[in-house]
């Protein structure tokens, strides 16, 4: 047990280190810009004295490592500075959009995960059947499609031809849960289709890999019934790869929302980030980037830790 705790702690520390390096890189990236925030805000006509004074006000005259610590501290307290393009506090804009993005990703995940796992398991168990061939071809097609293609096909059929769902998401804070769910059906469906395809292929591959291991063959040669082999021998060992697959796809989902949000003009974090990149509104890009990157790093960390816990073999690495 001690060994397990030590391994998990080690992986956790590594994750925190990654997070630390990621934040430094994002911070430095914005710092190395020609000119700085003060010049960017005041414009080219500003006198050198005004720029210097403003720089002092923004604490840009401090050395970089102190500014980095200040930035991180402010960030963790929810104080992310002001946007260059409209002068509003970034935290206010991000707060509501982050909730929307998480809502979209969570809804998509709650549909995609069970569907993908069941389909992947079935495809692996009935390998080379017509069902397997059909799902294999259709998932291959789905992962080859860009997200916006799937999105526009759905819009064409479900929104324009038969007017079931709205093609743009008008999300308002006061809406009820069901009303909100109705508004996000199309973006949610798009994300679900893309992730199900990825997740199903990975689930199928890892289950097939498992079924070809020697102890399954042994059970088969002993003459055990298929049901017993699957429930007693295969499934307990399938837990670790499946958890890994799910966590990896959740990480993908969080970032995958960016394109989908733009298609449906969804008021989420991804849309904000893309808008800010084209306006070169760096403080906003910095904040969104840090949030996206840390979510991604954390989900990967969770995937690894769960894999260590659920797979005894990883606890005793051969040196």
């Amino acid at each position: 047990m001690n060994r397990l705790i030590r391994l998990v702690a080690k992986r956790f520390a590594l994750g925190l280190l990654t997070l630390f390096i990621v934040s430094i890189l994002i911070f430095l990236g914005v710092q190395t810009l020609p000119g700085d925030l003060a010049e960017a805000i005041l414009g080219k006509q500003a006198t050198p004295e005004a720029v210097a004074a403003f720089r002092k006000e923004l604490k840009l005259d401090l050395p970089p490592h102190i500014r980095y610590v200040n930035w991180l501290r402010d960030f963790s307290q929810g104080n992310m500075g002001v946007s260059l393009s409209n002068g509003l506090p970034i935290a206010e804009q991000i707060n509501w959009r982050l909730k929307n993005s998480l809502f979209l990703a969570a809804t998509a995940a709650s549909i995609a995960v069970p569907v993908a796992l069941i389909l992947g398991l079935l495809a692996a168990l009935y390998r080379n059947s017509w069902f397997d061939r059909f799902t294999s071809i259709s998932t291959l097609t789905a992962i080859s499609f860009p997200e916006f293609f799937i999105a526009y096909i759905l819009v064409t059929f479900l929104s324009v031809k038969f007017q079931f769902f709205p093609s743009m998401c008008n999300l308002i804070a006061e809406m009820s849960f069901f009303r909100k769910t109705y508004e996000i059906i199309l973006p949610c469906l798009t994300l679900t289709l893309v992730t199900v395809a990825h997740m199903m292929r990975m689930t199928r591959a890892s289950i097939i890999n498992l079924l070809s291991s020697p102890y399954i063959e042994m059970a088969l040669l002993k003459g055990l019934r298929h049901m017993r082999i699957i429930v007693h021998h295969a499934l307990p060992n399938a837990l670790s790869p499946v958890i890994n697959v799910v966590a990896l796809n959740l990480a993908y989902l969080v970032v995958g929302v960016v394109v989908v949000e733009v298609v449906f003009v969804y008021p989420g974090l991804g849309q904000l980030m893309v808008d800010s990149v084209s306006k070169r509104d760096l403080p906003v890009v910095q904040a969104c980037g840090l949030i996206f990157a840390s979510t991604y790093v954390l989900l990967n960390l969770v995937a690894d830790i769960l894999a260590i816990i659920s797979n005894p073999r990883l606890r005793h690495p051969k040196s």
């Binding site: 990654t18 390096i21 990621v22 890189l25 994002i26 990236g29 914005v30 190395t32 810009l33 168990l125 390998r127 071809i137 291959l140 097609t141 992962i143 080859s144 499609f145 860009p146 997200e147 916006f148 293609f149 526009y152 096909i153 819009v155 064409t156 324009v160 031809k161 093609s167 097939i208 079924l211 070809s212 291991s213 399954i216 063959e217 088969l220 298929h226 082999i229 990480a251 969080v254 970032v255 960016v258 394109v259 733009v262 298609v263 980030m273 893309v274 800010s276 990149v277 084209s278 070169r280 509104d281 760096l282 890009v285 910095q286 980037g289 996206f292 990157a293 991604y296 790093v297 990967n300």
Partner: protein, 277 residues
């Protein structure tokens, strides 16, 4: 001909894939000859329907859709191919170096790659593009760097396996240099897995650059490019006009083709794997 011989060995889906790739390459090379109009010539009304004059209608400025699609193939595919090749050169070079030299070189390169892979690719690209601005060279460098990380991992792993074999040892004892060992002893033995990876990476890069263009941050107008064309014509979708679906379908078509061939390549190498249940 070796090509025809290979085709005969291929599965049906593999052959379809090769057909799709050849068709796209043909369009790429012959775009100026087969396109009915000039790349950015305005020749009709906005979003006209399909007719004899405009086989696939016109786009949001009244340019011929078919012409734009042909030129778009040229721009998008050639940039994606350039990026993938660059990523492979970088990835294989550093991957082999890390595997052969080992020690601190391996440690350093592997940790840098770990950090790059800890970033979600799209977010990394968005941050870099917002700092350096959107231009084709920046785009090429960023995506090539990001996709070279996976090539690095793969080629390092393969080179590790091959590097301990007797014939490499023999070459070392003969006193061959680092470059000789990399290019003459190891590279020829890694062609099959790297080829499949090239296909996969190409798909990834191709979709990635299309997504960036779709977000308005990739290849800039007036150059025709498939992702950008979807973005420009997106407004037509609410009128039930197919204009944005055509370039999107073209992207999907080529990616499916490459994936079919890659699938066949992977299946062929995995064919030996024992069938369990």
């Amino acid at each position: 001909m070796p090509f025809l011989k290979l085709m005969r060995k291929m599965s049906l889906t593999g052959r379809i894939g090769v057909g799709i790739i050849c068709l796209n390459l043909g369009v790429c090379l012959l775009a100026p000859i087969i396109a009915p109009y000039n790349e950015s010539a305005v020749v009709g009304d906005v979003w006209q329907s399909w007719s004899k004059r405009f086989p696939l209608g016109t786009d949001h400025l009244g340019r011929d859709m078919l012409t734009r699609l042909f030129y778009g193939a040229r721009n998008t595919i050639s940039i994606a191919f350039l990026i993938t090749s660059l990523a492979f050169t970088l990835g294989i070079l550093f991957g082999f170096l890390a595997a052969i030299i080992g020690g601190w070189v391996d440690q350093l390169l592997s940790r840098v790659v770990d950090i790059l892979m800890a970033f979600p690719t799209l977010i990394f690209a968005l941050i870099v593009l917002s700092i350096l601005g959107t231009s084709i060279p920046v785009l090429i460098m960023v995506i090539a760097l990001l996709s070279s990380t996976r090539v690095y991992r793969l080629s390092r792993a393969i080179a590790m396996d091959i590097g301990v074999m007797d014939f490499v040892e023999a070459a070392r004892l003969r006193g061959e240099g680092l470059f000789w060992i990399m290019s003459q002893e190891i590279l020829p033995n890694t062609v099959a897995p790297l080829l499949a990876e090239f296909g996969l990476r190409f798909c990834f890069v191709f979709l990635f650059i299309s997504s960036l263009s779709f977000l308005g941050l990739g290849i800039q107008p007036p150059s025709a490019d498939w992702g950008g064309m979807v973005r420009e014509n997106a407004g037509a979708i609410t009128f039930g006009i197919m204009a944005p679906l055509l370039p999107a379908a073209a992207i999907a078509f080529l990616t499916v083709g490459v994936n079919l061939v890659v699938d066949w390549l992977l299946h062929r190498s995995a064919g030996k794997v024992h069938e369990g249940l």
